[in-house]
């Protein structure tokens, strides 16, 4: 499988009144036609990683080091002009809150058309035709009428569909999805997830899907990277991670989901709270909350151990694969 995205040794630090080490030594890759889930709790750095891929972080207050390669191009070295053609055409993004991501003073049709005119140099009429086509693709009922609707005239689920239409209007190779179903009702969430799954297959896109909800990840991802305190603590195929997690944090996260827990039975929890990201981690960030922590966990950063084909965990207890003779 060719790699569309290769991130290695990515560090992101926000400076200002206090320094936040949001992402530390993160490496991941995304294959062609693959759906990768970034799973983690709030503050674990999943959205920041996603934004770095499109260089959406505020320039002045962000220090980024490492390499981010998308389809062989170095994203961190792009100038503004290159970035604006890169965004939308190669990579595009959908957000949690479509009401905030869409422009309230333009109609849906005009916003989609503008993006097509801008990126593909087509006329506005052609852009509008594409907009209509896209609204039909995301199955907005009476699409023709909805072209002239403003975002506030639509319901939450409809707005999310419109945002997906906008993001896919220029047929990007890679779609970044930042918790696109979190703000939706349960019956609408499943509709949007199924739509995204179908469009991914139809368009042959690769997707990075950020979520905190394991159920959502199960519905859509092929591979999952579990994040904690700005690092990927475990990655592997969805099945492996869900069935046999290796890292104690991944284990705890899966055990603490309430799915199927019996009433009256105590829920398994991870004690304590995530660390503040005020300094660069020198040892395992999870050690203070870990039930199986050892003295050596506090001495140095655990290495990223390959525990199986395409599967790695950052834990001293992880057993590396021994080469079979």
């Amino acid at each position: 499988m060719t790699k569309l995205v290769e991130i290695s040794g990515l560090n992101i630090r926000f400076t200002g009144e206090r320094t936040v080490y949001a992402v530390n030594d993160l490496s991941l890759s995304l294959g062609d036609g693959e759906v990768l889930g970034l799973l983690g709790e709030s503050g674990s750095g999943k959205s920041v990683t996603l934004r770095a891929l499109m260089r959406l972080l505020p320039k002045k207050r962000t220090q980024i080091s490492g390499t981010v390669n998308v389809m062989g191009r170095d994203v961190l070295a792009m100038n503004d002009e290159q970035l604006s053609s890169f965004r939308g055409q190669t990579v595009s993004m959908i957000f949690q809150e479509p009401a905030l991501a869409l422009d309230p003073v333009y109609t849906i049709g005009a916003q989609i058309a503008e993006s097509v005119v801008r990126h593909e140099g087509k006329s506005f009429a052609e852009g509008r035709a594409r907009a209509l086509e896209m609204l039909e693709v995301v199955r907005i009922p009476s699409a023709k009428r909805r072209l002239d609707a403003y975002p506030h005239e639509m319901s939450g689920g409809m707005r999310q569909r419109a945002m997906i239409a906008l993001a896919l209007a220029c047929r990007p190779k890679i779609l970044l999805a930042d918790e696109p179903t979190t703000a939706l009702d349960a019956t609408v969430q499943i509709q949007i997830l199924l739509l995204l799954r179908e469009l991914q297959r139809e368009f042959g896109m690769s997707v990075i899907f950020v979520t905190h909800d394991i159920g959502v990840a199960i519905e859509i991802c092929d591979r999952v990277a579990v994040m904690y305190a700005g690092q990927i603590v475990e990655q592997g195929t969805l099945r492996d991670i869900v069935r046999t997690p290796v890292h104690p944090y991944a284990k705890g996260l899966l055990a603490s989901t309430i799915h199927g827990a019996k009433r009256g039975q105590r829920l398994e929890t991870i004690p304590g709270t995530p660390p503040s990201l005020g300094e660069r981690p020198h040892s395992c960030s999870f050690a203070p909350r870990c039930a199986v922590a050892q003295p050596r966990c506090l001495e140095q950063l655990p290495a990223n151990v390959e525990v199986g084909p395409g599967r790695a965990a950052r834990c001293v207890l992880a057993e590396p694969v021994t080469a079979l003779s």
Partner: protein, 353 residues
């Protein structure tokens, strides 16, 4: 800090007057409509936020309310707390109706609420200790005693008083703030606590901690919970009985296992089927229903679900089905398909007795 410090006095809870058989809370025909101003010549429209909602909560029970946004769960909670006036309906607390045999002041001591937004519901200018002590002081407790109580309660919710009492809400994490809100609700020794999406904004691992805490506190203080959430897994875990609401109406209610295992209303079935799968090999293939919940402004006539229901027949649009008992366990549903002899083609035959 699990042992009760003998020197810390709690407020006396509102006396149990009705005895065990008397439900702690009886709600009959609760209704709240909000008028919406249309244009100059537009017809006046109304949001039917809560429409003829009736249920009871027994002493020591946990009742869950589930539904999507706009279904009236939070409005119901606010009406129960008397945070807004109701249009019609009775709210009877332990056999006493508010305003007659029970003053609003007493009711607020007997019933407390925890909100979803842990930050917005704390006064940013008060320390955590002051916030918790505020209620008891209003109800006549001396300052010193109220502060001692606040520290005691902080210990009960798993926060070390010495570390947290003098901090401000912005200095602690979301999970810790929600613990403070729970401690504050308990400061008036309530018998009923309404939890309105109280764990929804928390991360999964923290959510599990808070749910365990709620279970412990319920046992220790003999509490009754009304637990409102959109998360079906959480509601199933914590509730004894559950109410399913859709556009301001209760469409199904009953013991949680009955409702989950044999959902009678098509909306309940859709809601359950919409939960993401937990098995990578058995993903959801088709969405259980299409479309968004309709706007609660001027909701559909008859059964409000008929516009999205795959089994809708003409009679569904004409008149609203009433909640009808399905068994003797208290499982009820408001659907013509569950009412014998209703005229719906899928309805059971009327039993001749």
């Amino acid at each position: 800090m699990s042992e009760t410090n003998a020197s810390v006095a709690m407020l006396e809870p509102v006396e149990d007057r009705g005895g065990v058989a008397q439900p702690l809370l009886q709600v009959n025909g609760l209704t709240k409509h909000f008028p919406v101003r249309g244009g100059l010549f537009a017809a006046k429209r109304t949001v039917r936020a809560v429409d003829h909602v009736s249920f009871t909560v027994a002493k020591g029970e946990t009742v869950g309310i589930v539904g999507e946004s706009g279904c009236g769960k939070s409005t119901t909670a606010r009406l129960l707390m008397h945070l807004m006036p109701r249009d019609t309906g009775d709210i009877i607390y332990d056999g006493m109706s508010v305003g007659q045999s029970l003053s609003l002041r007493e009711l607020r001591r007997g019933m407390q609420m925890v909100f979803q937004d842990s930050y917005a519901s704390l006064n940013p200018r008060l320390t955590i200790e002051e916030s918790i002590a505020f209620g008891p002081k209003v109800h006549g407790m001396a300052d010193g005693a109220a502060r001692a109580l606040a520290r005691e309660l902080l210990g009960k919710v798993g926060l070390v008083p010495a570390n947290f009492a003098n901090r401000y809400p912005h200095e602690i994490s979301g999970g810790q703030r929600q613990r403070v809100n729970i401690a504050r609700a308990l400061a008036l020794s309530p018998r009923l606590v309404i939890l309105d999406e109280a764990v929804s904004a928390l991360d999964k691992s923290v959510e599990a901690q808070v749910l365990n805490l709620l279970a412990d506190l319920k046992r220790e203080f003999g509490l009754t919970y009304l637990f409102i959430s959109h998360d079906l897994n959480v509601v199933r875990y914590i509730s004894d009985r559950v109410l399913v609401m859709y556009l301001g109406e209760v469409v199904e209610l009953g013991p949680v296992d009955q409702v989950w295992d044999q959902p009678a209303h098509p909306y309940t079935r859709a809601l359950l089927a919409a939960m993401p799968s937990s098995d990578p090999d058995r993903r959801t293939e088709t969405p259980p229903i299409t479309g968004d919940p309709p706007n609660p402004i001027d909701p559909p006539s008859g059964c409000r679900f008929h516009t999205r229901c795959p089994f809708a027949e003409p009679l569904c649009a004409n008149a609203t089905p009433k909640l009808t008992a399905l068994d003797r366990m208290g499982h009820e549903a408001a659907c013509y398909m569950a009412i014998p002899g209703s005229g719906h083609s899928r309805a059971p035959k009327e039993e001749t007795v």
